[in-house]
């Protein structure tokens, strides 16, 4: 092919310019340390980098949120620990007070400490977190959740639990509401509660058995009514919710009163079912999936009730116990009454302690989960960072050797250009 001088010149210059541009691009990459400095450098990679950087930023959001939850749960855990210790102390006081040997004065002192503890528990319930918000008020963060009034402690928060985002589409509660922690505690054994009726004259008290069979218990109430038979033995009947006596064949752990007249009203009919049982202190009576014991010496016409348990707050438990201890017993009946209340309260304090332990276990479980998630998030973040780096960042060794090669080529292009341009026939004529 014929070569024109201008073509030779243009090709030489083009070559030099191209090499210069390449070397400059490599130099810019080395100066910034990045392969892609602006989207037009590598449009496809730029879009991918953008997406990855956003995912990376989102991991930071999750990590921040996880940090927030951890901080709040740790505050809650500390508060729950002091609430648990307080309930234990109250329990110790109740055990002291249940000792028949102590006198009225001592009981009074115990009652005074108990009142103090109650106020302390209220202030624990009203703890504020680091942001000045009430920890246990649900979403009512600016309303003091527990107020001690003449009628006891009322809850003024709500049941709204706050969830924070800890992963794509995954949330976790950053606390527990006050009603759940302090208020909604089932009394009795959690299924039924027992009590002696007002006006009992004997010194008997009733205790609910902890074991229940929930599939058999359908929320019925029972009343245990005491009497005496012709032999002078103490007997009792169990009345169901409608006031009808319960057939003893459906009750376990009782001995039927042999003196009861089971003759049917119509001759020839089968005998009537036995309903009157002989009383034996401490015997466990089981029916309809629940069980209870009656201890001490109940008298005829005394009565005890067994009914579905209700919510009782920790505050009420302590308050009622203090009130019971503040009464001065006049006789054995009064003492049995106090004994019953202390027993009930001990059971209920166990429930309160269990609740606090449950909530603490829940908090601890969440903290463990957060640790795991935290580790996972950090790993994901590391992976994403590496990925972004792979796409965006420069391989320096490669870039530096590339630059050297480009500069070498540039120099060669320049030298060959100069040589070609200097080589003209005109020089020889």
């Amino acid at each position: 092919m014929r070569i024109s001088t201008q073509m030779l010149f243009r090709q030489g210059i083009d070559g030099i310019l191209q090499q210069q541009a390449r070397a400059a691009a490599t130099q810019r990459q080395i100066a910034t340390g990045q392969r892609v400095n602006k989207p037009s450098d590598d449009p496809v990679a730029a879009a991918r980098i953008q997406e990855l950087e956003r995912s990376l930023a989102q991991q930071d959001v999750f990590l921040t949120n996880i940090g927030r939850i951890e901080q709040r749960l740790k505050t809650e855990e500390a508060v729950l620990t002091s609430a648990g210790e307080l309930v234990q102390r109250v329990r110790e006081l109740a055990v002291q007070a249940s000792n028949d040997a102590i006198g009225d004065r001592q009981r009074e002192l115990i009652a005074i400490e108990m009142r103090d503890r109650l106020e302390e528990l209220v202030s624990i319930g009203n703890t504020r977190d680091g942001d000045g918000e009430f920890l246990f008020g649900g979403a009512q963060k600016e309303t003091r959740p527990f107020e001690l009034g003449p009628a006891g402690v009322s809850y003024r928060g709500d049941s709204v639990q706050r969830e924070l985002l800890i992963g794509a589409g995954t949330t976790m509660a950053d606390g527990d509401t006050g009603d759940q922690v302090f208020m909604r505690i089932r009394d009795g054994n959690g299924t039924v509660r027992v009590a002696q009726e007002a006006g009992n004259t004997g010194a008997g008290f009733i205790i609910a058995e902890p074991a229940v069979n929930l599939s058999q218990y359908s929320g019925e109430s029972f009343r245990v009514e005491f009497g005496a038979n012709a032999d002078g033995d103490t007997t009792f009947r169990i009345l169901d919710g409608n006031g009808d006596p319960v057939d003893l064949s459906t009750v376990q752990g009782v001995t039927a009163d042999p003196t009861e007249d089971l003759t049917p009203p119509v001759l020839g009919d089968p005998p009537l079912p036995a309903t009157v049982a002989l009383f034996e202190p401490g015997q466990t009576i089981r029916l309809a999936g629940i069980g209870f014991r009656i201890e001490g010496a109940p008298e005829a016409n005394d009565a005890f009730v067994v009914e579905p348990s209700r919510f009782e707050s920790m505050f009420d438990t302590i308050g009622q116990l203090a009130a019971a201890l503040e009464t001065k017993p006049f006789d054995a009946t009064d003492r049995a009454g106090i004994r019953q209340q202390i027993n009930d309260a001990l059971g209920q304090l166990d429930n309160a302690e269990t609740r606090i332990l449950e909530v603490r276990a829940g908090v601890g479980g969440r903290l463990n989960t957060l640790d795991d998630i935290n580790a996972t998030r950090e790993e994901v973040k590391l992976g994403l960072t590496e990925l972004v780096s792979d796409i965006r960042d420069l391989d320096f060794a490669e870039a530096v050797s590339l630059l050297q090669q480009q500069l070498f080529t540039l120099e060669a292009a320049q030298q060959s250009f100069a040589a070609l341009q200097g080589n003209s026939l005109f020089r020889f004529i």
Binding site: P39, A47, E51, V61, G138
Partner: protein, 628 residues
Amino acid sequence: MADPLNISISGLLAFQRALSTTSHNIANATTEGFSRQRVELGTRIPESLGGFSQGTGVQVNDVRRVFDGFLATEVRTATTEQARLDVFAGLAGRVGDLLGSRAGGLSTGLQTLFEGVQKLANDPSSLPVRQTLLGEADTIARRFAELDRQLETLGRETFNRVESSVDAINGLARALADINERIVRSPGAANGQFPSDLLDRRETLLRELAAQVDVRTVAADDGSVNVFISNGQSLVLGQRANEMSVSSGDFGADELEIRIGGVAVTSQLGGGELGGLLDFKREVLDPVRNDLGRSAVVLADSFNTQHRQGLDLNGQFGGDFFDVGAPRVLAARSNSGSGELSVAVADIGALTGNDYTLNFDGTNFSLIDSSTGSAVALGGSGTPADPFTADGLSIVIDDVSNFSAGDRFRIQPTRIAASGLSVAISDPAKIAASAPMRTASSLDNIGDATISAGQVVDFGDPNLLTTSTITFDDPPVSYTINGGPSVPFVSGDTVTVNGFEFQLEGSPTAGDSFTIEPNFGGVGDNRNALALGDLRDARLIAGGTRSIVEQADILISRIGATTGAAQAALESQTVLLNSAQDQLMSVSGVNLDEEAANLLRFQQAFEANARVISIVNTTFQALLAATR
């Protein structure tokens, strides 16, 4: 008479001409568009001397321009495409850099906004956090507006460059007409002898024209060249140039109309800088502005919808969080009716990034997607009660009788939406972070039935924000709502009260009660903030296939792919152009070594002829001396 003196003189003259031509070549070795010239020598007509003929010397037949028309056409074609790609790739790259910049791009801005929402969800009652969110919302709104403003500036720049390109085309067309005239009137024109240097000059002008726009040339017998743009509209016809002009189109300044001698040719123009500019506006700038606007509409609309469903710190329902630019309607200047349209976005999921044209044929309205040219089915009847619906838009026409047949309207649903994006609230307490309702079970309940957190299903219910109590009857197989009639209870069933929906589950006891109440004072509740945060990944765009942030990625990757393809094509086109230029130069270009050799050759020939004259002279002197 064929005497040696005359023959030598013819040689002297011929080689003088050859030396002149060579020196002309050397002088123009670097002149752009110059084609080397060659002296064509031939023998003079021989003298007949009876039985034989005697040569009479040499003559210059022609000073020929070494040129290949096909190669020149190839160079022009390559130039046109290279110039188009150069402009297109450059501008598209600028759009990509604008949208993808880390500091000013959408992706980081959207991420920061949603981080602000997360901070709100973490501390819904904190006023500083709320203020931060407002600040971040303002930043993203300004970023949208700023990006749109820069794209608009780029649009104006494109318009200006179109104007200057058209000016350049007109200048070149006039110069071509002028040079045509000079060629036709040149002395040798009648014999088909055209001045080489003028032909070169014209070829250079044609190449410059090709760099502006794609043209076809047809050579006429009289030596002139006629220049047409692609559809056959003539730009230069012989010695006359037709004026090309730019004006705003039927729908206003946003759409350019280029005419030649009154005939609209915009859609036929391609190639060159002008073609590149028009392609850029049509394929990149307008769609990107529409897409950016669509993202703004989706952000504003989804945020507003969710925000209106929450309660603010004052216990009021949230209002609009963002304001956004409404769809733009442009009536054609040629419309004879006075009818007007109002267009609103009805469904962000169905919204496209396209523009539309609404046509009225005297009885019916029809909608054309201007970007694809295909018809779009219209639902509804166009009345306020039953608006036309198409592609997520609702179109209301004021009165059919105000429209005339042939009326046309351009609808740009999202073109100016981004520039109109702004934060609608300024009071941080008015950010609605909490859910409007809360549920609770009574502390006196005996049974273990629970009530779910519930959700609002009808925000229009006038009694939504009222407290209701659900109390179980004895036996607890039914319940009453606010003391009303008994409703049978089925555990887990959904109950709806005053537009609020929830589930009661478990086994209640007679007398158990549950309340649903307005969430006043629930400053720690973040449920609506969480719902706002979920919008980050909610697939709301393009029929539920993309989220807002994914749309930002797609915007970048689409423009990136376009730019990348244009850059690659530009590179290969440049190679193609260089090779075509090399081919042409290989034929027409001056090689100085060759000219140096010719110089020697012609000098030697000249010297030889001069020597012949000297010998003839010596011979003549010898003859004179003999006769003396």
